[in-house]
Amino acid sequence: MIAAIQAALAEEMRRDPTVFLIGEDVRLGVFAGTRGLHAEFGDKRVIDTPISELAVAGTGVGAAATGLRPVVDLMFGTFLYLAFDQIANQAGAMRYMFGGQTKLPIVYMTQNGSGSSAGHHHSQSVHPFFMNMPLIKVVMPSTPYDAKGLLKAAIRDDNPVVFFNHLSLGGQRGEVPDEEYLIPLGKADIKREGADVTICAAGMMVHQSLKAAAALEADGISAEVIDLRTLKPWDEETVLASVAKTGRFIAVDESYPVCGGASEWAAVVAEKGFSDLKAAPRRISSKPVPIPFSPALEKAVIPSAEEIAAAARELMAVAAR
């Protein structure tokens, strides 16, 4: 996964001299795959900053508004809280507020999610905050292939994008072709086809969903797993088409449940796919608590393949209306 991100950054920086990378310790590369870029691109294009998330995020805004394409590495999702104002009030608003006078091609890159016993301050799933923000695109890949294609597309996009890696997917392996490719933002990917129940997820939860689908197969239940990949704008069409086929829907999101991703997906499916539904849509989110440190507790907080599979079995057991 890290290698795919490195490759995406390097390719885009080679292609376009206005692309640069800025953040804390991006030279050595802490998590987000920025390693090795300083050696190739030097001090001017790979910029270590003081620990000042708000100013760094705003520097991205000012640079983007004056012709550059910053990639801003903010390390951990929760650090975006400190940069929230610049992302929401500037990156997410300037173009509209100013009547279209500027484009804002910025990528904010960060780590998201739990599962590494990093404690609450380094384990939160913060993507719903950015999903609830006008004009911010939100991307969350689950595989190296998707990460590379999506990150390249995000860098070329003329709008602000928050790009989430999952801390625990850093070591994830997967095929990445040598030829260049892009993955358009806003397009989901059906990671596994199925006929009985639609499971909608992103990031790490795609893997839990695929595990669940594998387990369900043994029970004769055929689950379709949709990887949203882009969380805003998100691919309602693909999800609704799947639900039209299966009639059953499970939304799986790693975030805190209230106003989280699962609520959004379930609400849209209920609203627009109501007549297709054979049973109530189901939401599976993290348990409604901060993320505990203890591995035993943390595991219990995050949605598991077992939970997903159990929900699917329950849905299958409901008499179709």
């Binding site: 003081p50 100013a55 000012g62 004056t66 910053p70 009030n89 500037q90 006078q101």
Partner: protein, 324 residues
């Protein structure tokens, strides 16, 4: 570096343009003709104009909630400004921004900002951009004394100084953040003092003396263009009126400035001061200033006319200027 007569006249003209524009806006607001919040720049004209006169057209400024004066100082257009204040389709931001969000990217004015301190990091980004692209442009961040207590001030000055970026930080110290006096909000007299904490020059200047502001700004700009990094200029100035238009009714009799203080603020009028200087130094006769004034008043009146007769934004425009 005393400015030439042309520069002096240019500065005076811009200041007068601000004064007459703002007076008109104040009147319109009092008459209930303008939606939203309005913060006037009257009394502080020398700061924005002194700074902007030291800039090139391709230099950047980033402004505040009290931004009308900055737009005009950088060369903005009355009509599009006034139309924006009325929320009309012909405004700078097509009616989507309003008083606190006027921008004119074509003259390097990267926008007013309703968030105190919110524009400071953006200016750092514009300065970074100049550095990165290898131009000798500079970026100016204008902000108030109140903003100097925001985290964004600190992070921005430190970041710009660590990266040695061509950014001039201009603190318009009018002694108040809304209704709280600066003495109560900080334990120091001079915000310029904070520059030392970032290893950059900190200069105090009389913000009612446009030429002094100009000279301080010109020196900082030159230094920044040479690649020697940022500077902080603190301009001591006065807010002629209240924090926001209509505040008297809103405060319902509560006072926060003494009558003496208000009088002092009225007396230190930067426009009158520069006008007297021009006449005294015989840069231009009083009659010329009067003609200029009349012309500007006419332009302001025309801008009101323009704004009034402009259409509201169409409902279709609601979904324009979103994703590219």
């Amino acid at each position: 570096m005393t400015p030439s007569p042309e520069v002096v006249m240019d500065i005076y003209t811009r200041m007068l343009r601000i004064r007459r524009f703002e007076e008109q806006v104040g009147k319109l607001f009092a008459e209930g003709q303008l939606p939203g919040f309005v913060h006037l720049y009257i009394g502080e004209e020398a700061v924005g104009v002194g700074v902007c006169a030291a800039l090139r057209d391709d230099d950047y400024i980033v402004s505040t909630h009290r931004g009308h004066g900055h737009v005009i100082a950088k060369g903005g257009d009355f009509n599009r400004m006034m139309a924006e204040l009325f929320g009309k389709a012909t405004g700078y931001c097509k009616g989507k921004g309003g008083s606190m969000h006027i921008a004119d990217f074509s003259i390097g004015m990267l926008g007013a900002c309703g968030i105190v301190g919110g524009g400071i990091p953006v200016a750092v980004g514009a300065g970074f951009s100049a550095y990165y692209r290898g131009t000798d442009q500079v970026a100016v961040s204008l902000f108030g004394d109140g903003a100097a207590n925001e985290g964004s001030f600190h992070e921005s000055l430190n970041l710009a100084s660590a990266l040695k970026l061509p950014v001039i930080f201009v603190c318009e110290n009018n002694g108040y953040g809304e209704f709280t006096p600066a003495e109560r909000a900080m334990n120091i007299q001079d915000i310029a003092e904070r520059a030392h904490g970032y290893g950059i020059p900190g200069v105090i200047v009389d913000g009612t003396d446009a030429l002094a502001v100009y000279e301080a700004a010109a020196a900082a700009v030159e230094r920044a263009r040479r690649g020697e990094g940022p500077a902080l200029i603190e301009a001591k100035t006065h807010r002629r009126g209240g924090h926001a238009e209509g505040e008297a009714a809103f405060l319902a009799g509560q006072q926060y400035r003494s009558p003496e203080e208000e009088r002092a603020a009225q007396e230190k009028d930067p426009l009158a001061r520069l006008g007297a200087f021009i006449i005294e130094r015989e840069i231009a006769p009083a009659s010329h200033l009067e003609t200029l004034d009349a012309k500007i008043v006419e332009q302001v009146t025309a801008a009101v006319e323009f704004a009034r007769s402009s259409p509201d934004p169409s409902l279709e425009s609601l979904y324009e200027d979103t994703w590219v």
